[in-house]
Symmetry: C2
Subunit: 151 residues, 2 copies
């Protein structure tokens, strides 16, 4: 009993500490630019924006702000930069003349798929070290984590 209790406390601590370590690692990762496809080096914000636009279809500026969890002003600035780099294009909204629709250029799509590929390969490395069941449980945990963080 005592042993069990101490184990549980221990797990509790190391578990949350490891999660903290993961956050630390991600902070480090999310600071440096990376190169995807033929587009030059892209900052994390740029890549996440491209990711949020997606290769299919178009997205409203304000919708983009919502997806990225940043202000409209920040989106304006990001899109301006990506437009200069020729990774996205603006086009007027068909019905609402206030709206601006954003979509990826060919170069932007290329960067997006290259990024997806990197992510998939990275994730495959992880999968390779776990059994199918373990992966399933791990993903369940990630899902729970996501739903907690959404609030």
């Amino acid at each position: 009993m005592d042993k069990n209790k101490s184990n549980q406390l221990n797990d509790n601590n190391t578990g949350s500490r490891n999660l903290g370590r993961l956050i630390m690692q991600l902070r480090r990762l999310e600071r440096q630019p990376h190169t995807f496809g033929s587009a030059g080096p892209l900052t994390p914000s740029e890549i996440h924006t491209i990711e949020a636009i997606g290769s299919e279809g178009t997205v409203l500026m304000s919708e983009l702000a919502g997806r990225l969890g940043i202000t409209k002003g920040a989106v304006t600035q990001l899109i301006a930069r990506l437009e200069i780099k020729e990774l996205v294009v603006r086009s007027p909204h068909p019905n609402d003349s206030r709206g601006t629709m954003i979509s990826l250029t060919e170069k932007g799509k290329e960067a997006n798929t290259a990024h997806e590929e990197v992510q998939r390969q990275f994730y495959n490395q992880l999968r390779a070290q776990l059994s199918e069941q373990e992966i399933e449980i791990f993903e369940k945990g990630i899902d729970k984590l996501n739903s907690f963080l959404r609030k």
Copy 2:
């Protein structure tokens, strides 16, 4: 067979996509200040610095830079701010007169334990939704992820 293959591809994609979503959520979280204990609102960088110093013992400036994965110059700036907020103190290294040792003040320790408590409670919420075995597997996955990211 075909069904199996398509499933695997599918899992592969949704898994890496969910991981991407987690990163997005963490980015959002790591942008806003939070209040811990009696210390006022602390920026993520400030809290992570306090976390890296720890409540026990003292840390060299350069060691701190290593732990946080940032430059010495950045540490100098962070510590200066935390010193003004009276959360850390500088003291000379006993043997090496070039060195500066950093440690938490009482107020700093309070912020640290308050932060740990928040993390533990958060993690307990997650634990509550998974069985013991699942938690164990989940933590294994987080560990693997950490070791991948270290490189």
